[in-house]
């Protein structure tokens, strides 16, 4: 029993020690893991921001951005997070309802976005289009629409993400809903034999796809840029769907309970700086919300350009989200 108490004591001591060792304020940012990992945008942004403002930045990568939101909800007012980064406009309303987030008072009306977007709590920092990514060497005739996708041979498998935990997963759900309306449930039934597996977050899906477990993965039109720039591989493409592509605007907000509100606000402001906008395309593989002098890397011109951006209003999504998810759950039942 004494060993047990010792362990508890040790854990307590360690956590206290880790608090007091540094005098600089630490800005803690919860996000999805692909953002926080060493080869993601996190470390570059941390460096740039720390240089500009005297502080430490700590990125905490969760398996998905909605997962990060849930963690903040679980921790309530005791959360260590100062900022939540990585939700999109579809789920931001749900986050707002928790009452845990603070207003930002920034002017976001001049941003370079394909659609107008203003919100008192959540500020946008990049955007892209949801799309299925495939390997050109393996898939010779990629589907060009949802109909074509469902009509692929039986052994053609895709990996998607759970709309309850992942923002691209939710985007796909809304995309299908927008295209099929009340027939969305029936479409999911038709598509379900092609779904190899549904993962909690984007990176798990993408990992399975790269391991060769599936033919296509739900990702973004901008994902192939990664393979071209980082790996010199041009065989990864995103399938262009005739129906248009669902857009995803990623957003961030600061927490009411944050102990470093000034710093947090500075960070939100930093999201609209040129420094940040230059990091985003080749680190988070998305379009920045601010035009830079450098402009986008050339590779981005080779990427799939959707015929139109489909994007539902956040408030409408929030009204029907549970319903749409339930419809999806029911149509997957066997």
């Amino acid at each position: 029993m004494s060993k047990f108490i010792q362990t508890l004591f040790l854990i307590l001591l360690l956590s206290i020690a880790s608090f007091g060792s540094d005098t600089l304020p630490t800005l803690t940012i919860y996000t999805y893991d692909a953002f926080a990992v060493s080869w993601g945008p996190g470390p570059k942004i941390k460096k740039a921001f720390e240089q500009e403002y005297e502080c430490n930045v700590k990125f905490m990568g969760l398996s998905s951005s909605i997962g990060a939101l849930r963690k903040i909800q679980l921790e309530g007012k005791n959360t260590k997070a100062d900022i939540l980064l990585g939700l999109d406009t579809n789920i931001a309303q749900a986050a707002k309802k928790t009452g845990l987030f603070a207003k930002h008072d920034l002017n976001t009306s001049n941003l370079d976005l394909p659609v107008p977007y203003t919100d008192e709590y959540f500020v946008p920092y990049d955007y892209s289009y949801v799309a299925f990514v495939y390997d050109e060497n393996k898939v010779k005739n990629p589907p060009t629409s949802f109909e074509a996708l469902a009509a692929m041979p039986e052994d053609f498998k895709i990996v998607i993400q759970d709309p309850r935990s992942s923002t691209p997963g939710l985007s796909l759900l809304l995309w299908v809903k927008e295209v099929y309306k009340e027939k969305a449930g029936a479409y999911w039934k038709k598509l379900s034999p092609h779904i190899l597996t549904i993962t909690k977050g984007w990176s798990e899906s993408y990992g399975l796809f790269l391991k060769g477990e599936a033919d296509m993965v739900l990702s973004y039109t901008t994902s192939p840029a990664y393979h071209i720039i980082e790996e010199n591989r041009t065989n990864f493409k995103s399938a262009r769907f005739d129906e248009g592509h669902y857009g995803q605007i990623e957003v961030a907000a600061m927490l009411k309970s944050s102990k470093h509100k000034e710093l947090a606000k500075n960070f939100l402001h930093f999201l609209h700086s040129e420094t940040f906008a230059e990091i985003i395309p080749t680190a988070n593989w998305a379009y920045p919300v601010v035009k830079t002098k450098q402009g986008l890397p050339e590779v981005f011109e080779t990427l799939t350009q959707p015929s139109k951006m489909i994007l539902l209003d956040g408030k409408t999504v929030e009204l029907h989200r549970k319903e749409i998810i339930n419809e999806w759950l029911h149509s997957l039942e066997r």
Binding site: F4, M60, I195
Partner: protein, 552 residues
């Protein structure tokens, strides 16, 4: 007058046994109290009494959970039976004892490791498919996600476990029976029906009910291989309700349904009496030489299952060896999770042994005739003690986790403290049924053997322990320590609710790595976890080996 004397005698008896009654009684009360608090929290945290509002999703979850548990049990028991039968009749098979020892390690293999290995062998890009592509230019495609994957993994873990216990039954059938059957000129089938089946029946039933419960509450396998909400078990659905949707109301609803079903199952199923002891296989061969065809069939069965069992482990080793160990071993998260895991496993295995010793010490007061009178009162107390030790079967991990989680919402304390308490509790409860099954019979025996001597010499409890109990229990204690250490080390249950960058265990770290396409690091961590598990499972019992306890 006589009854008064009887009562006085009994009081004296109780006083003499107080050192044996009190600690176990206290542990039992502690466990039952915990179960009560848990149930109380779960039941009364419901904001609205909407338990009646069960939609079709809940119903289909329950249906699938029962369905896959039934199929898994059926397949595991069938495969286990054929395997045990083959092994029993092929006692001269080379490497047999090594195989049997290996199969018994399935009990402690971290489920996540098994999943990892299975994907490497049977996945779309796995060995089997690649070989097939190379030889016949044909791939079986992806079949491992969904029901097939869940069944394959369950059979992997449970058939080997079942075969181990069944083999023991085969070997304890008196050889005379075989001789008699032989002289009656029985066929192999008749021999099975008349000689072997009657001996197997009870063990088979208790194994089946245990496997059913384990599969009913299966978590890690379903989480990784289930792949779609269509293949969720209740356990995973509870996890998703909390972690994905923050829908505590839904989680509670599911938890109460799960609790109702498991409690019913535990009440109706045979007692948890599966033999899990580290008994060595007998070298006495069955006096019956098999016909050529039967022999061929048996050897094929052993060969196939061995392949099925060993290949995924081999895959972990092959995949793992290529990993960059300097990078893995220096990663702060690895170091953190390593020490957390080792610390938790050490503390919980020691606690498990202590609890199991106290409980079985108390238990024997009610089962040994010369101690307390064998009346209905004793029987009830004995059942209560047994039930408190087997609590885990009725209250699965995730429900426990949910309870702790709700507590942590109400009472403020650092999350690390809550997580530590939750994990320790879960680990101890998880190992207790096995620990009791191993330690209680030995303690019963030493009681029978030494009670009179101890009482007449008036030895103190401590002296009794040093001179009588420990020498006999030593090797069993070693085995229980190893078992519960490995259980704790490999568990991916409650940590899934509590895990974070600040508090993580090796399985959780591995799950994170698998989830973030760092396949090579994941392979390395999987290998490390496998190596630690096997080392502890093989080496720890050796440290406790004693010459006296050999026959126990």
């Amino acid at each position: 007058m006589a009854s008064l004397i009887g009562k006085i005698k009994m009081l004296q008896e109780v006083k003499r046994l107080q050192y044996s009654l009190l600690p176990g009684g206290f542990v039992s009360l502690l466990l039952l109290g915990f179960a009560f608090v848990l149930f109380f929290i779960l039941f009364f945290s419901q904001e609205d009494a909407s338990v009646a509002q069960l939609d079709s999703r809940v119903f289909s979850l329950l249906k699938f959970t029962l369905y896959q548990a039934f199929l898994s049990t059926l397949l595991s028991v069938l495969v286990g039976l054929v395997l045990a039968w083959s092994l029993a009749h092929q006692s001269n098979f080379k490497g047999r004892s090594l195989l049997v020892a290996l199969f018994s390690s399935s009990l402690v293999l971290p489920t996540l490791i098994v999943v990892f290995g299975l994907i490497s062998v049977l996945g779309r890009n796995g060995w089997v498919n690649q070989l097939n592509l190379y030889l016949f230019d044909h791939s079986f495609g992806s079949y491992l996600y969904g029901l097939t994957g869940i069944l394959v993994a369950h059979v992997y873990l449970n058939a080997s476990f079942a075969s181990r216990s069944l083999l023991h039954v085969f070997e304890s059938i008196p050889k005379e029976k075989y001789k008699l059957a032989k002289s009656l000129n029985f066929t192999t089938f008749q021999r099975f029906i008349y000689v072997e089946w009657p001996a197997l029946r009870t063990t088979l039933l208790s194994i089946a009910s245990t496997i059913f419960l384990l599969c009913f509450t299966s978590f890690a396998i379903v989480l990784v291989l289930g792949g779609s909400p269509a293949y969720n078990t209740l356990e995973v659905a509870i996890y998703e309700a909390v972690k994905l949707e923050f829908d505590i109301g839904m989680a509670l609803k599911l938890a109460l349904i799960q609790l109702a079903v498991t409690t019913l199952l535990v009440l109706f199923s045979a007692n948890f009496r599966t033999s899990v002891g580290n008994v060595r296989t007998s070298t006495l061969s069955i006096p019956w030489s098999e016909s050529k065809h039967v022999k061929r069939f048996q050897v094929t069965m052993i060969g196939l299952f061995s392949l099925f069992f060993i290949l995924p482990l081999l895959a972990i080793i092959v995949d793992g060896i290529g990993a960059k160990f300097t990078r893995i071993l220096t990663a702060p998260l690895f170091i953190k999770s390593f020490f957390t895991s080792m610390g938790l496993a050490t503390v919980s295995s020691i606690l498990t042994v202590l609890f199991a010793l106290f409980l079985s010490d108390t238990k024997r007061n009610f089962t040994l005739k010369h101690r307390l009178p064998n009346n209905i009162f004793s029987k009830i107390l004995n059942t209560i003690i047994s039930f408190s030790g087997n609590l885990y079967l009725a209250v699965p991990s995730l429900i426990m986790g949910l309870g702790f989680f709700l507590l942590s919402q109400t009472y403020e304390a650092p999350m690390a403290v809550w997580s530590t308490i939750a994990l320790l509790t879960a680990n101890v409860l998880m190992s207790l049924p096995f620990a009791l099954a191993i330690l209680a019979p030995v303690m019963q025996k030493t009681g029978q053997r030494y009670d009179k001597l101890v009482f007449s010499l008036n030895l103190s409890p401590w002296q009794r322990w040093v001179y009588c109990e420990y020498p006999y229990l030593k090797s069993s204690i070693g085995y229980v320590l190893a078992l519960s250490f490995c259980f704790s080390l490999g568990d991916l249950g409650i940590i899934a609710l509590f895990g974070s960058d600040d508090f993580l265990t090796l399985p959780w770290y591995l799950y994170q790595l698998m989830g973030s396409y760092r396949t090579s690091d994941a392979a390395g961590v999987a290998l490390i976890l496998l190596a630690i598990t096997l080392c502890v499972f093989i080496l720890l019992p050796r440290l406790f080996r004693s010459s006296i306890a050999k026959d126990n």
